[in-house]
């Protein structure tokens, strides 16, 4: 699964890059960002393969913070499934520094804050007046500190989309009182669509 997705993306990105005319980028604020993401609760760069069993989706947008388009503020909302540690909604806002490198390619370093409403991965129960009642859809908000690195393509005049891949680490707080901070990783593949 991992190899298939990476190969698909790389082929697409390479074809796309080769097809670009040398035109000035047309970054604008408030594009629509959409993509898929893969998650695992793991130390950085460990157990990466497991991530591809845990699929999520995200949408978001970004705001240019300077005229050179090298500094942007991103906001994303996603749904992440993970049958082992819990599924739920993630919200993140990150400041990204995006120096252009070669041709239409760019890299991006980012960091920010977020929240994760994580559900129990299985049925859960709560004591009430001496009986046990099922606690449907129960979960908990966890604070997140994400950092990440991305590579992608700048949009061109001919095709106003900007595909990217991203590797993100985030620390989630309060997962369990005895494990107050847990490391996680996200692999994302998506695209900005400039209207």
């Amino acid at each position: 699964m991992k190899n298939f997705l990476l190969l698909t993306f790389l082929l697409w990105a390479t074809t796309y890059a080769l097809a670009q005319e040398k035109t000035a980028p047309t970054n604008r604020s408030l594009p629509l960002m959409v993509g898929v993401q893969f998650h695992s609760l793991a130390l950085p760069l460990r157990d990466v393969k497991t991530s591809f069993s845990n699929v999520g989706v995200f949408v978001g947008t970004e705001l240019l913070l300077n005229r050179k388009s090298t500094l942007v503020q991103q906001l994303s909302v996603g749904w992440q499934s993970n049958r082992s540690v819990g599924s739920g909604m993630m919200v993140m806002t990150q400041t990204a520094w995006r120096p252009r490198i070669v041709g239409a390619f760019y890299t991006e370093l980012k960091a920010g804050v977020g929240g994760w409403y994580i559900h129990h991965p299985t049925d859960s129960w709560r004591p009430a007046n001496g009986e046990w009642v099922q606690a449907r859809n129960s979960g908990k908000w966890l604070p997140l500190i994400p950092v990440g690195i991305s590579v992608g393509l700048n949009p061109s005049r001919g095709l106003p989309i900007s595909p990217f891949i991203s590797y993100q680490l985030f620390v989630a707080g309060h997962y369990n009182p005895s494990a107050p901070l847990v490391p996680n990783q996200l692999l994302q593949a998506g695209s900005r669509i400039h209207f």
């Binding site: 699964m1 298939f4 997705l5 698909t8 898929v36 695992s40 609760l41 793991a42 130390l43 460990r46 157990d47 497991t50 069993s53 845990n54 699929v55 999520g56 989706v57 749904w79 499934s81 993970n82 049958r83 082992s84 540690v85 819990g86 599924s87 994580i118 129990h120 991965p121 299985t122 049925d123 859960s124 129960w125 709560r126 004591p127 001496g130 046990w132 606690a135 129960s138 979960g139 908990k140 309060h174 997962y175 369990n176 009182p177 005895s178 494990a179 847990v182 490391p183």
Partner: protein, 391 residues
């Protein structure tokens, strides 16, 4: 092709959001064949306490006691499985968790009595090469240091790599080499012998030492400890799937510390069956009492070896704390020897009060190794039970 990709992702997304089945079937028809004194004078008070705490939120509780005056008594309250309201019963198997260490220590001391192991010999002379390679300065660590937790060896359960892998792979059974991999290359916490620090790794290493000497430490324990005492309701790696015994209770944990429990039976079984020497045993409450009583009455060890088990090392505040497979406790002015057990889905305590000749084993099927209101309830129950028994 893109449709296949999209459909595959959707399937993964949808299946990833369906509840993970972690529960297991439990036998609700078992019957205990052990005779108990149904007229035990404290039985009503003990039963009331168990009922009180299962009403407060412990899923299930089981206990057994023995006193010279009144013999054996056992009782239970709550559920062995909440989902289908399977009642907790004394015939069901409870997780002993770290109480297993007491059995492991007895096995080592029996081998010491037989002249097959030297307590002051370096473990590097016993451990086979694959295991030795994971340890730093193993030549400085003796068998005795493993037994009384003065080795300085690191704790594998505290390694972030272990914790994260355990959470992300709740069905994974670790091998001993995988567990030792989490401490590979780490310097010892302190100079061996310098001080006391409890670690599960010490007793896993003892199991590996006994494996090297006997060929199978679990088989040795079954043959030389369980069989002589007729502990037919104690299981320890009898078969590869010994934790599939239908008498074994379901277990629960408060994953997020919010007062909400999940059934984690599958995770608990994978976790417990990963551990050797430091954990891994399941038994009925009465079997645990019979083991402790047999041990203290000299049916398993010579008096000199039993005295070694009760040769206490001091903790950081210079109080007697641990011997060999036994903790030293003082509870309301009463001295006790025994061991506690805390796991992802269970908790228990095994105690012997020598001045009263009193034995107690108390177990619950909620995880007490992580902080939660449920772990607090289990501790309060233990304290109230001891109060009732000793006053």
């Amino acid at each position: 092709m893109k449709y296949i990709l999209i459909i595959s992702l959707l399937i993964l997304l949808i299946t990833g959001c369906t509840p993970e089945p972690f529960s297991e079937p439990v036998d609700s028809t078992c019957v205990s064949s052990d005779p108990i004194n149904s007229g035990y004078s404290g039985s009503e008070a003990l039963q009331n306490l168990m009922n009180k705490y299962t009403r407060l939120g412990l899923p299930g509780v089981a206990m057994a006691v023995y006193s010279p005056q009144e013999g054996f008594w056992a009782g239970s309250s709550g559920y062995a499985k909440i989902e289908d309201k399977t009642p907790m019963q004394i015939c069901q198997l409870q997780y002993l968790q770290s109480v297993t260490k007491t059995y492991m220590a007895v096995a080592v001391l029996q081998l010491y009595e037989a002249g097959k192991i030297d307590l002051d010999q370096s473990i590097s002379s016993y451990l086979p090469l694959p295991y030795k390679g994971y340890l730093t300065d193993s030549e400085k660590i003796t068998v005795r240091m493993l037994l009384n937790h003065t080795s300085g060896v690191n704790e594998y359960t505290e390694d972030p790599g272990y914790v994260t892998y355990l959470l992300q792979h709740p069905r994974h059974t670790f091998t001993s080499e995988e567990l030792l991999g989490f401490i590979k290359g780490k310097p010892l916490r302190f100079e061996p012998g310098a001080k006391y620090q409890y670690t599960n790794t010490n007793y896993m290493l003892l199991a590996l030492v006994v494996d090297a000497i006997t060929g199978d430490h679990a088989g040795y324990i079954r043959q030389h400890i369980l069989a002589p005492l007729h502990l037919d309701n104690t299981l320890y790696y009898n078969t590869p799937d010994y934790l599939q015994d239908p008498r074994l209770v379901n277990t629960y944990w408060d994953r997020f510390g919010t007062g909400t429990l999940e059934n984690n039976s599958v995770m608990q079984k994978a976790n417990v069956s990963s551990m050797v020497g430091d954990d891994g045993m399941v038994a009925t409450p009465l079997d645990v009492i019979k083991f402790t009583k047999g041990l203290m009455e000299g049916k398993l060890l010579k008096p000199s070896s039993l005295a070694l088990m009760k040769t206490w090392v001091n903790d950081q505040v210079n109080k007697s704390t641990y011997g060999m497979g036994l903790f030293y406790y003082e509870q309301g002015g009463h001295v006790a020897y025994g061991h506690g057990g805390a796991g992802l889905g269970a908790g228990c305590a095994m105690l012997y009060f020598p001045e009263h000749g009193l034995y107690l084993f108390l177990a619950t099927n909620v995880g007490t190794v992580t902080e939660s209101t449920f772990a607090g309830l289990a501790e309060s129950l233990k304290n109230e039970v001891l109060e009732a028994l000793l006053h």
